[in-house]
Amino acid sequence: MAGFSELIKNFEKTRDYVRDFFIYGYKVRNDFDKKSARTYDDEKRRVESWLGNCLVYDDSVRGKQVAISVDSGRIAENPLYQAFYTRSFTDNDIRLHFLLLDIMSDGEEHTSRELSDILGEVLRVCPDEQTVRLKLREYVDEGIMYCEKHGRSVYYWLSGDSAEEWLDSDGICDAVKFFSETQEFGLIGNSILKMTGMKNEHFFFKHNYIVHTLEDEVLLTSLEAINEGRTLAVKLKNGKSKTVFPLQVLSSVQTGRRFLAAYSPVEDRFLTFTLDYLPLPKVGGIFDRPDDIAERYAKLSARSFGVSLAEVKNAEPLVMVIHADEEKENYIIERLKREKRCGKLEKTGENEFTLTLDICDPKEAMKWVKTFIGRIKRLEGGTEDIRSRFNEDVERMYRMYCQED
């Protein structure tokens, strides 16, 4: 396939374009200046081919904008999954895939030599035994086949785990349909549905950040490293690499961001990396003192309001005093209870409630605090900077909305 192909070899580059079309939507051709204009044209054409129905075009003063515009709450299948079903392959790859599966459907064990000989009778151009063996090994790694050594020969046979047998009840099918649209690799569930010709039609998702799927490879590598207690080499925006010990993935269901929480042995501190901009990290060796770090992390994260693991010096507990009519505005008290996370809520007067947040980085709570604008009687503690910025913000908003005339 010389020239343009709608299939791709490397997902990383495409990931950036799809994300930019989806998140920003206002970018024009000249804004994609990290690569050549030709690269932009090819990537745009691919995205148009994969996701044509979701693309919108607008003419702005800066040029023609291309955007992926979707109401995530009204779709039964994440359209961005399509971008993952595009990996390129060689002619030999696809021939070997279907022919090997066909030959091995007899349920028997075969050596690579036997399979190579059978293939020679079917194919016009027969791959050598080495190529066949590599494909068999690849499929053993993927779990499609099994192998066992008898004497000097390795015998291969097909896995008997067919999707139809595993998905043998309505309940399991419904579960796969539901989880195929949830966070943490819904894409894999979707690939099972596609394989069996099923699709989700009944489950819809609110507050659903479908763009997360673009990070699935990064997430999988990170979770594998966490599971095995290994380090990760992460590439920073400045191009430098940092070796860290990954601890947990922190997912914000309100801001749409996911972070990797990790410990940096060189700096002896905890850091977070946003997954949406993190290039695929490299897995390193086993970390030598995981228990000690995990204990420190557990203590710190118990005092984190969100994803910040920074222990701000001289910060006091942040105290927010709220006005809420106990009879008519019980929903405010309910809101405080369910959203306060690590805070302590007390009734401190008639129609007055006080929330105390003893957290490592009080600044992080301020976005949430501002959702109570109109009810905050006092804001105390935290840091001087936080309190003055809150007062300034209210002043600026007052000028913006209330002094128009």
Partner: protein
């Protein structure tokens, strides 16, 4: 073990489907490629599938004298689950929501089947930092029973009698045709979108349902989506500045909405379509951006923001 692997790809899936057929015309092959493939797949995939005189095709189909295509394979391509897919399924067994779909016997059978499969990830390796803490009781037997009855009715287009407690504590009972089930990642709650015999489009929280009874009445849902009447009549228009990285943060946070954006120097203007039911929730989320975001329209939403800000200004300045 890779997610981005050609064995999950659209081309492999189309070829698998075509090799399942014993005899096909080239028109039928082209139709499958057009239906199942990407927009441009016809340009690339078809010529690799159909036998070519220069043998540049994949050699997976042969053509008889009558022009009918036959697969060179004997058996239908099997649908074998990969290790990645099995490990994903194994991980989902640790998710408390799994018991909504499987009864105890099914759950036990699946547990036995995956006994030797390691989970793809441990549940505690991912933490939802700002999920509400009053999520639905997924393991409660009554909740599980109601969920399954509602789901069965959604699938089979059956009218059901639902008795539920409203948000104001009032008991309501009525006949409804449930159309779809919605899960909120933030609230950790399920809701069911219904068409009520008396009330029209209704949204009921699953956790508020006390009982569900099957009426055995079958009713085809109307074509028009029941959520259209919940849609805002006028989009929200906001101007977000790049101060404090607000533009980037806003676009990420509101990525779930259908929207249009336009950049002007250090500001982004965003038009965004929302459900009227969510207006208050939307308003407080907009206020959380402080002065780096300005609501331009609709005017009544701007007015509501102004009222809250005025009250806050007076609280701080003793007005």
């Amino acid at each position: 073990m890779k997610i981005f692997n050609e064995v999950y790809g659209t081309y492999y899936r189309i070829v698998s489907q075509i090799l399942t057929e014993h005899a096909m015309t080239d028109k039928e092959v082209r139709e499958i490629v057009a239906r199942e493939g990407f927009r441009d797949s016809g340009l690339f995939l078809t010529k690799k599938l159909l036998p070519q005189t220069d043998s540049s095709d994949w050699g997976l189909l042969t053509q008889d004298k009558a022009g009918i295509l036959h697969p060179v394979t004997v058996s239908e391509p099997p649908h074998i689950l990969t290790a990645l897919q099995k490990r994903w399924l194994r991980s989902k067994l640790d998710d408390p929501r799994i018991c909504l779909f499987l009864d105890d016997a099914e759950l036990a059978a699946l547990c036995r089947r995956v006994a030797d499969v390691p989970p793809l990830y441990r549940t505690n390796a991912v933490r939802y930092v700002d999920r509400y803490c009053d999520g639905d009781p997924f393991s409660d037997p009554d909740y599980r029973r109601n969920f399954r009855r509602v789901l069965a009715a959604v699938k089979e287009h059956r009218v059901i009698e639902i008795e539920f407690k409203s948000r104001y504590g009032k008991m309501i009972a009525g006949r409804y045709l449930p159309r779809r089930i919605e899960y909120s990642q933030r609230d950790d709650k399920f809701r069911v979108f219904c068409t009520g015999r008396k009330r029209g489009a209704t949204v009921i929280n699953l956790a508020r349902i006390c009982s569900v009874h099957d009426t055995r009445i079958h009713e085809e849902p109307s074509e028009e989506p029941d959520t259209e009447n919940l849609r805002c009549s006028e989009p929200l228009v906001v101007s977000v500045s790049s101060e404090r990285g607000a533009d980037e943060r806003f676009l990420m946070e509101f990525a779930a909405y259908e929207k249009r954006t336009e950049r002007e120097k250090d500001r982004v203007t965003v038009r965004l379509w929302y459900d009227k039911n969510d207006e208050t929730d939307l308003l407080i989320r907009l206020l959380s951006y402080g002065p780096v975001l300005e609501i331009l329209a609709p005017q009544d939403l701007r007015q509501k923001a102004a009222e809250r800000i005025r009250r806050q200004y007076e609280l701080l300045n003793g007005g």
